[in-house]
């Protein structure tokens, strides 16, 4: 079947099998290999991308279901050569080791901060709880997201900059 979707702002039209998973479409067809695949059961979240504005596990979505929709992957996080604050936070706080879970973690974190600019540690842990990391024990991932939150608040990217910042809150 023929599908058309906009991935990271670029429109792609392809003939695909109806059963093709979105993760394989992105990785094998479009060669966007930043999104990973880590399980057969929708448990790990290594494959998280945005479908329109919502994070989804792309191993659990058919490419055909993204027909006519927008997809955003980790390759689109940095804009104009500038890293997203979430990416900067992961680098600053050592939020990644092997880097395999990282794209999925960052896509969820970006969504969280877009909707909750100043999440508590508990809220961050809740938001990431559908994704596995085998290397970091999660602590530095949580700190990375807090770092991004605090730096976005300090340097608002257009919005009101957020209020009620609770630096260092645990």
């Amino acid at each position: 079947m023929q599908i058309t979707m906009t991935v990271n702002g670029v429109s792609h039209t392809r003939d695909v099998e109806a059963r093709l998973l979105l993760i394989h479409f992105l990785r094998d067809e479009l060669r966007l290999t930043g999104s990973h695949w880590g399980c057969d059961t929708s448990n790990c979240g290594a494959c998280v991308v945005w479908l329109d504005e919502t994070p989804v596990k792309s191993c659990t979505v058919l490419a055909a279901m993204a027909d006519g929709r927008r997809v955003r992957t980790v390759e689109d996080l940095a804009r104009g050569g500038r890293l997203d604050p979430v990416q900067q936070g992961f680098a600053e706080c050592h939020g990644l080791q092997c880097g395999f879970c990282t794209p999925g973690m960052m896509m969820t974190a970006r969504w969280l901060l877009d909707h909750h600019p100043d999440p508590s540690v508990a809220e961050i842990r809740e938001a990431l709880s559908g994704q596995l990391c085998r290397c970091t024990g999660y602590e530095n991932i949580v700190r990375s997201v807090r770092w991004a939150s605090e730096h976005e608040a300090a340097q608002p990217a257009g919005g009101d900059g957020g209020t009620g910042r609770q630096a260092g809150e645990r």
């Binding site: 094998d28 057969d40 680098a91 050592h94 880097g99 024990g137 645990r170």
Partner: protein, 791 residues
């Protein structure tokens, strides 16, 4: 954290941000499944649904007729090429594709090569295999029973499921110490089967160049050089025609040490089709067929005086190795380093016996984030010490303090022969107790108990032996465990270090750059680290058992110091001084007593490549290479304290706090060290509370997906509280000891000790991992269950 240190003044150690992050953060890493070669085909493995069965027939006709299938490989085909069996790391053999029988559920039976991923999977369904089911043994404690099904009838002379008996220590001295003891405490315990489950599964892309005959294998391997040698031996290929590339690796934890049948199938696939072949397993395949860890059935005995002096320790172990003995460790130790089980205490005597058996379960086992079975040894001794404390009515911290080795006893030879290098154990325990607020915690526990609440405080103190290892003592299949390093200095002073170990997330590209920068007065940014490609790096045994910093790290220091000495001669010629009159200070060579007269490494490097006249016999250039053969293991250690709250009604355990004080000697990059500890703690908590690979009586693996094999998430993990002490390693050139696995080794038993401590008022003495609500509850009812069996 502070700005990057000034290398000239401070050296290059410190929390330097990681170089490798730049690509991972942008989704630009190159993992095995990201590799795409022109004309690449895709492989998939047909696996046995049965745990034990004779293969009557394999019919591949329909699969071969599939329009997108290019080859179907069976055991029979491999047998004709003498490739149906491969050696394991423990001098056993393992079937690549089954020929006679299948011996565990998930065993490899056939390999399909097709034009795309999905077609390869489709074709698996078209293969008809007729099996004749055989009786199954999944419980190691029944494996040696009279009449138990014989699993390894392929091995000449094998009449039962026995693999080995092995012992260490002094039996007579241990018996005497037990006979003289006031108190003896015994306990049976199981360290259940676990799986390392790195987030990236195992896979390979194999490509044979038909013209040059060169085979390149990009594979998820923690030991590329050792794999190259193994491929040469298994496939009979000339070793210089094999290149193994370990690209970015999504976690290893021991899982990626062995050579797996899928890698070899990809190699055979490219040889047959003449095109590159990719094989990447799915998660169920990873959990069901690649090597597990632990599965040790242990009986412990501890002897002490009435006033709390520990005298001796005894252990008997039944080790379940699954259907093939694929255990990965130095060859002369069939139970790995388990016999370091005397732990951190000053004992008179110790003795342990280990018996290994075959069962109809996946083969193994690997050191899952531990140095070869030390996790099992630490678990045993730390449970026994807690049981002894309860028996004597002593606080477990107090009992440990009384018996820990004292600083003046180092170097210390333990009763089973390991020579511990250095340590100040009481101080580490004290730092942990201070961080935890130990007396207050005990007071709080009293108050809660009075209110009918079940709070527990668990301690553990571990000693690891890592950095395998001295050539005189150990090898793997005849390969000595030394590591090479090769350092080039370009004319502008930029450096390229090639090392034989390989990162799976440990941050070698940063840490090793810091080592070189520190030694040569450079910035870490000036140092490129090359690793993971056998064509570009010197031989060495790879990254596992926390050996990178102890062995390869030492090699990097030694090679940098060689370069520095070569630079001294050149600098002397530049300064028109005698080499003996120069001193290395502030990251440069300068004339002793005249710091104005100095040359940096960049200046020296340019001169070394110039027309500067050098003394006779000096070659010019600064490049050097070395092989580091460690004189001893290194012995990192630590003190951990865990605080839990348990609901005895449901058996649910809530992890409230975890305090970890590690001493891994000198820390090159403390940020990375702490990250390693965090990850290990999560792993340990997972093993203690949820991770177990369970089998039913027919040998069906019940832990074959992340729905059943539970791993800790951000919700189960607390905010780790870390502390440190630094006791340099006396025999490592910069005093570092290695840390990657300390936390996985030390943490599970702290959790178990905490849960048992919480429930002691209800009479609980021991419960086996994983402490799921169901198993805690059953233990409380006095009817403990075996979480590893669903019978």
């Amino acid at each position: 954290m502070s700005a990057a240190p000034d290398p000239a003044l401070d050296g290059a150690y410190g929390p330097v941000r990681r170089k490798e992050d730049a690509r991972f953060l942008r989704g630009q890493g190159t993992f095995v499944d990201d590799i795409q070669r022109p004309g690449m085909l895709h492989g998939a493995i047909l696996r046995s649904p049965l745990a034990h069965a004779r293969i009557v027939s394999v019919d591949t006709a329909a699969a071969e007729a599939h329009p997108r299938v290019r080859a179907v490989i069976t055991g029979e085909l491999l047998e004709r090429r003498k490739l149906a069996w491969m050696p394991t790391l423990s001098r056993d053999v393992q079937a690549v594709l089954a020929t006679d029988k299948v011996r565990f559920q998930g065993q490899e039976v056939a390999f399909v090569v097709a034009e795309d991923r999905y077609s390869a999977r489709d074709a698996l369904e078209l293969i008809q295999v007729e099996y004749e089911p055989l009786p199954v043994v999944v419980d190691a404690t029944r494996a040696l029973d009279e009449g138990a099904p014989l699993i390894r009838d392929d091995v000449a002379g094998q009449r039962d499921n026995h693999i080995f008996d092995w012992a260490a220590g002094d039996r007579a001295a241990t018996d005497a110490a037990f006979a003289a003891a006031d108190v003896v405490v015994t306990q049976d315990m199981l360290y259940p089967r676990s799986h390392p489950a790195p987030l990236e599964t195992c896979g390979a892309v194999a490509e044979m160049d038909p013209v040059s005959g060169k085979l390149t294998v990009w594979a998820t391997t923690q030991a590329p050089h050792a794999h190259r040698t193994l491929y040469a031996l298994i496939a009979g290929l000339p070793e210089h025609k094999i290149r193994i590339v370990s690209p970015d690796i999504g976690g290893g934890f021991g899982n990626k040490v062995p050579v797996y049948p899928g890698y070899l199938c990809a190699v055979v696939g490219t040889m047959i089709t003449g095109q590159p072949v990719k094989w990447v397993e799915d998660r169920s395949e990873n959990l069901m067929s690649t090597t597990f860890a632990r599965d040790y059935h242990m009986h412990g005995e501890i002897a002490a005086t009435r006033d709390g002096r520990i005298l001796a320790l005894r252990a008997r172990v039944l080790a379940d190795h699954g259907a093939f003995n694929g255990s990965a460790q130095p060859s002369k130790y069939p139970a790995g380093f388990f016999h370091i089980f005397t732990g951190s205490y000053d004992l008179q005597a110790a003795h342990c016996e280990v018996t290994g058996v075959y069962t109809n379960k996946a083969p193994g086992g690997v050191a899952y984030s531990c140095s070869f079975r030390i996790a099992e040894g630490v678990y045993l001794v730390e449970r026994m010490v807690d049981l002894l404390a309860a028996e004597l009515g002593l606080d477990p911290a107090e009992l440990r303090m009384r018996n820990l080795l004292r600083p003046e006893q180092f170097p210390y030879t333990c009763p089973t022969g390991w020579e511990y290098d250095s340590g100040d154990y009481p101080r580490a325990l004290q730092v942990a107790m201070d961080l935890a607020g130990y007396p207050e915690l005990r007071r709080e526990q009293e108050e809660r108990r009075a209110r009918g609440e079940y709070m527990g405080i668990g301690l553990s103190f571990f000693t690891e032996g890592v950095g395998a290892g001295p050539r005189k003592d150990m090898d793997i299949l005849g390969l000595g465990m030394a590591d090479g390093a090769d350092l080039r200095i370009y004319p502008t002073g930029a450096a390229v270090l090639s090392i034989s170990c390989q990162t799976q997330g440990q941050g070698h590209e940063t840490t090793f750059a810091q080592i070189i920068a520190h030694e040569l007065g450079l910035s870490p940014d000036d140092v490129e680290v090359v690793h993971g490609d056998t064509d570009r790096t010197p031989f060495g045994l790879g990254t596992y058992g926390s050996r990178s910093t102890p062995v390869s790290g030492a090699a990097a220091v030694v090679v940098a110091r060689k370069v520095r000495e070569r630079a001294r001669v050149v600098a002397a010629a530049m300064l028109e001084a005698a080499p003996e009159d120069l001193e290395w200070a502030r990251g440069r060579w300068q004339v002793r007593g005249d710091p104005e007269q100095g040359r940096t490494m960049a200046e020296i490097a340019m001169a070394a490549h110039s027309s500067l006249e050098l003394p006779d016999g000096v070659e010019g250039h600064l490049d050097a290479e070395t092989v580091y053969n460690p004189p001893n293991l290194t012995y990192p250690y630590g003190a951990y304290i865990c605080v839990v709250d348990v609901d005895p009604g449901t058996g649910a355990v809530a992890l409230r706090r975890f305090i970890a004080v590690d001493d891994c000697g000198v820390r090159i990059n403390p940020m990375i060290v702490e990250g390693q500890v965090h990850g290990g703690l999560a792993d340990g908590v997972g093993m203690a509370l949820m991770q177990v690979i369970t089998y039913d009586q027919d040998g069906n693996c019940l832990g074959g997906s992340f729905m059943d094999y539970l791993l800790p998430t951000s919700l189960e993990c607390p905010s780790w509280e870390l502390g440190e002490t630094v006791t340099p390693c006396p025999h490592h050139p910069i005093g570092a000891k290695g840390v990657g696995e300390s936390a996985t080794v030390g943490s599970p038993v702290a959790v178990v000790n905490a849960v048992v401590d919480a429930l002691r008022p209800l009479g609980l003495r021991h419960a086996d991992m994983p402490l799921t609500p169901a198993s805690v509850w059953s233990a409380l009812q006095g009817r403990p269950v075996r979480a590893d069996l669903a019978l």
